[in-house]
């Protein structure tokens, strides 16, 4: 796949051409794996995804001129991608995550406006810039959203708000509560849902530490999403159990985490896929319904394999 192939398939009314050029010409050296993962038959859906994300990113910040928004987004994506590579290279040597203390990560990352602005833009764009994140987003819709009963939805750590947006898009009967530790994530999620014109009466995103309990909600949750959160906590079972206690027997959980994959704020290290499964079925009292394992394909010598992993679960 080449940049020219992508541009040839781009609909005439698409607005994401400059973003694609920035990704696959200016940052080709960094984002080549996504280009290599695409095929011609994947392009229509892929380009719809890019257009969707880019349209919402722009609409969420209507006062920011488009070239400036593009520069901000690409700065975030480059920062996120380079930081990930550097840390994963170090992890391959040491076998340990660099961060080990949640309070330090909170101070240095989640409450730091400058870091979070880049972090959230970058993380959102990874859905169309990193092959595993693109696959994960599609699996979320196909294996989870399409199968979960509609109703009351909880997400712990909505971050950039993109999974929340699709939760709300997936069924008009869905109502959504998002709880996030970071005030910057809360603002970002709200701006994304607002920009996507989701009826505000259907959703609420609050600044809360779910580790200290999930506030009373009038009904049990039908859907629970805990994505890219588990690995950020020292005792992640606390939030999963808190959510499970607010669920019913048919509640469907969508949980993602990583195995041997480092990031600026990863604390809880799973060393194998089995450790993740044991965590869900043991400490968290869940039964696994479906699982997606995405091996990390990097030219790195590592003792153990690294994975992104997503699980669909229900209370055991």
């Amino acid at each position: 796949m080449t940049f020219d192939d992508i541009m040839a398939a781009l609909p005439a009314d698409a607005t994401c051409g400059p973003l694609l050029r920035a990704m696959y010409v200016d940052k080709a050296w960094l984002l080549k794996p996504m280009l290599e993962a695409l095929s011609l038959d994947m392009l229509p859906a892929y380009l719809r995804e890019v257009e969707d994300i880019w349209s919402v990113m722009r609409a969420a910040r209507p006062q920011t001129p488009e070239p400036h928004r593009l520069a901000e987004g690409m700065k975030g994506l480059a920062f996120h991608s380079m930081e990930f590579l550097k840390r994963q290279i170090e992890f391959a040597k040491t076998g340990e995550y660099k961060a080990s203390d949640y309070d330090t990560v909170y101070k240095e990352v989640y409450s730091n406006e400058t870091v979070m602005a880049q972090y959230l833009d970058g993380l959102l764009l990874t859905y169309v810039a990193w092959p595993n994140h693109y696959r994960l987003l599609n699996w979320y819709r196909d294996a989870y959203l399409a199968k979960a009963k509609p109703g009351e939805c909880l997400e712990i750590g909505p971050g950039h708000g993109w999974l929340a947006l699709w939760q709300l898009r997936s069924n008009p009967a869905n109502r959504f509560l998002g709880l996030d530790i970071s005030p910057h994530s809360v603002a970002y999620s709200r701006s994304v849902l607002g920009a996507a014109k989701i009826d505000p009466s259907r959703w609420s995103v609050l600044e809360r530490d779910a580790q200290k309990g999930i506030e009373t909600h009038p009904k049990p949750f039908d859907r629970v999403v805990i994505a890219e959160v588990i690995e950020h906590l020292a005792k992640p079972e606390i939030i999963v159990n808190a959510a499970r206690e607010r669920s019913h027997k048919d509640t469907l959980f969508f949980i993602t985490t990583v195995v041997n994959i480092e990031a600026v704020d990863h604390i809880h290290l799973f060393r194998s896929l089995q450790e993740v499964r044991d965590f869900c079925t043991g400490k968290c009292g869940l039964a696994i319904v479906d699982e997606l394992d995405l091996p990390l394909k990097m030219n790195l010598k590592m003792e153990d394999e690294a994975y992104e992993v997503a699980l669909v679960c229900k209370p055991a």
């Binding site: 050296w29 991608s81 380079m82 290279i89 030219n299």
Partner: protein, 83 residues
């Protein structure tokens, strides 16, 4: 080129040779990801990390993007060291 610059140039070529798996003698100022097959994004960030550790310097993302050839790397490291 004076001795200090010679030393820096040799040091960078030695580190790049180790990371990229290419004999130092084959690396020129023009050597880049386009001309060295093993120079992918992982190798590039490995090279950056090795240079940071060897030279006690830090490169930010904008620096890293500019370091796209051995010559550009030399210029960047020289600038960071105040040379």
């Amino acid at each position: 080129m004076n001795n200090v610059n010679d030393q820096l140039s040799n040091e960078i070529r030695r580190i790049a040779s180790d990371v990229l798996g290419v004999p130092a003698g084959q690396l020129t100022d023009a050597s880049s990801p386009e001309s060295v097959e093993s120079w992918d994004s992982v190798a590039h960030l490995s090279l950056v990390l090795a240079l940071e550790q060897a030279g006690n310097v830090q490169f930010d993302p904008e620096d890293i993007e500019k370091m796209r050839s051995i010559g550009a790397i030399e210029a960047m490291v020289r600038g960071k060291r105040g040379g």
